[in-house]
Amino acid sequence: MPISISDFKNKVIGKISEKMEIKEIKSHHVRYQFWHKGTKILTTFCSHGGKGKDIRNDILSKIKRELKLNNLQQLYDLKDCPMSAEDYFNLLKQKNVISN
């Protein structure tokens, strides 16, 4: 199940930004830096694309890895609601990506 570039930006990154600071950098691709309390904790990137363009499944699995998610379903859950920003934040804490 692909995710559109606009959904990734607005729903996934948008949701994560409720809990941590996101810096967007436009270069060869659009890069996102995730910051928490002055620490850069993660980076991910996404191709530039027109409205309605989809991120392909193979790429989604790499984004899943960059975001330290356990499986693709969690990425869909971040986009569609079951996983809240708080849930994701706690997942990163569990994995020691965010220091307690």
């Binding site: 890069r31 620490t39 193979d58 220091s99």
Partner: protein
């Protein structure tokens, strides 16, 4: 009567006693009870998924990246990356899980080029904030330093 039932080892043949049939017939009656149908369907689905994964693996190659087309960086030693083609998505992907980077493109050349650009961008992205990296990015920065150096 018995021979009309499927001979699946996953199914059972249950004998119905004459009392259950209100004693209409004295002969034993048999009913086919498919107790494992759902499990078989699940197993079939899992096999299909595994076959798909196996097909993807077969199309995957490990290739060396020996140099970067960069004015700023060079490799200390070749790095080995996986090259695969996603049939469904029609895209080539070069992946290096250790560095947590990948590149993609419509053909192998484009994917390699994309990978090299992303490697360089990520290196400088990490370098820029090297004193402020969290544990995961610190680990990646440490690996980058083992394989890449500035010209």
């Amino acid at each position: 009567m018995y021979q009309n039932f499927p001979s699946s080892p996953w199914s059972t043949i249950k004998e119905i006693s004459s009392q259950e049939t209100f004693e209409i017939e004295r002969k034993p009656q048999y009913v086919y009870v498919d107790v494992h149908g759902a499990e078989i369907a699940e197993i079939k689905e899992r096999i299909e998924k595994l076959e798909k994964k196996l097909e993807e693996r077969e199309g995957q190659q490990i290739i060396p990246v020996q140099f970067l087309d960069s004015e700023k960086l060079e490799l200390k030693k070749p790095i080995y990356v996986s090259l695969s083609y996603g049939v469904e998505d029609e895209v080539w992907i070069i992946d290096c899980p250790e560095l947590n980077i990948y590149g993609s493109g419509q053909d192998e050349t484009e994917a390699v080029k994309d990978f090299k650009i992303i490697l360089e961008e990520k290196y400088f992205d990490l370098k820029q904030d090297k004193a402020k990296l969290g544990p995961a990015l610190q680990q990646e920065w440490s690996l980058f330093n083992k394989i890449v150096k500035e010209k």
